[in-house]
């Protein structure tokens, strides 16, 4: 599975080796958090005051606790790892070394994963680690 998108491979150093393919063209209308939550119409920004979407009642912020809170309000809870389990829908959450949440990825039905990469393309990738950025600190998994 080769995607041939060098601009992505440049910023996601594990992508080419892990394998990926494009799913849909660039769009700045939604971001990875929205995409993982099934929303392709809005940007989920962590802060409501500026005008970005964030789930009602969820903690606001740029850190992993805020991101976990957002997905908890969608019915997810933190689990041990991102391995796929029958009866559970999992997502992978990413944190960088500065404590910012950076990304969320969700599995496809065939066991691969899919991500929206910033304002760039949506892609299918083989593993959650494929879209870890150079400054990845930690991943968490949530399931429902």
């Amino acid at each position: 599975m080769t995607g041939d998108l060098p601009h992505l491979e440049q910023v996601f150093p594990h992508l080419a080796a892990a394998g990926y393919r494009p799913k849909s063209p660039r769009s700045s209308l939604y971001n990875c958090i929205a995409y993982a939550a099934g929303d392709e119409t809005r940007k989920w920004g962590g802060f409501r005051e500026i005008g970005y979407h964030w789930p009602d009642g969820a903690m606001e912020g740029h850190g992993l606790d805020a991101l976990i809170s957002a997905f908890e309000h969608l019915g997810y809870s933190v689990c041990d790892d991102e391995s796929l389990e029958q009866g559970f829908e999992k997502i992978a959450l990413y944190l960088d070394k500065d404590g910012f949440w950076t990304h969320a990825a969700k599995p496809c039905e065939d066991g691969q994963w899919t991500s929206k990469l910033g304002d760039l393309e949506d892609i299918i990738h083989s593993t959650p680690q494929a879209v870890a950025g150079p400054d990845l600190h930690e991943t968490k998994a949530s399931s429902r």
Partner: protein, 133 residues
């Protein structure tokens, strides 16, 4: 080295009137102000281009807003608001933090999230506050 440009009396009178409307004392001051503005526009365009190139892969808006080029644009202050609004009109993007940080305004209702709706709201805010875009 300076350049000399011959202009008609009529055009000179119009430039003098434009200078007076801006509280300036001479046509020379008006031309200097225009040149400074052109330099600010070029600086903004360079920073905006750099920010877009280096943050397009990011999803966390707070992280995007902390990019040095974005912070430098915020540091340019109120004079950059018309440029931000024009850029937003040309290509909607995450300029809302910068506009909020500079103006203190929050015209977009919370929970909106739609880039187009947020853009339209800021452009309406700009028109209502005297910014011609």
């Amino acid at each position: 080295m300076g350049q000399t440009l011959a202009i008609s009396d009529e055009l000179h009178a119009r430039l003098e009137a434009a200078a007076r409307r801006r509280g300036l004392e001479s046509v020379e001051q008006l031309l200097e102000a225009w040149q400074a503005n052109e330099e600010q526009i070029a600086r903004f365009e360079r920073l905006a281009r750099l920010w877009k190139q280096e943050t397009a892969h990011l999803s966390n808006v707070a992280k995007k807003a902390l990019h040095p080029a974005y912070q430098e644009i915020i540091g340019m202050g109120e004079r950059v608001v018309p440029m931000l609004l024009a850029e937003l009109k040309r290509e909607p993007d995450d300029w809302f933090w910068a506009l909020h940080a500079i103006t203190g305004a929050s015209p977009v209702p919370a929970e909106r999230g739609s880039l187009r709706a947020m853009t339209d709201t800021w452009l309406q805010w700009g028109a209502a506050n005297g910014y011609r875009v």
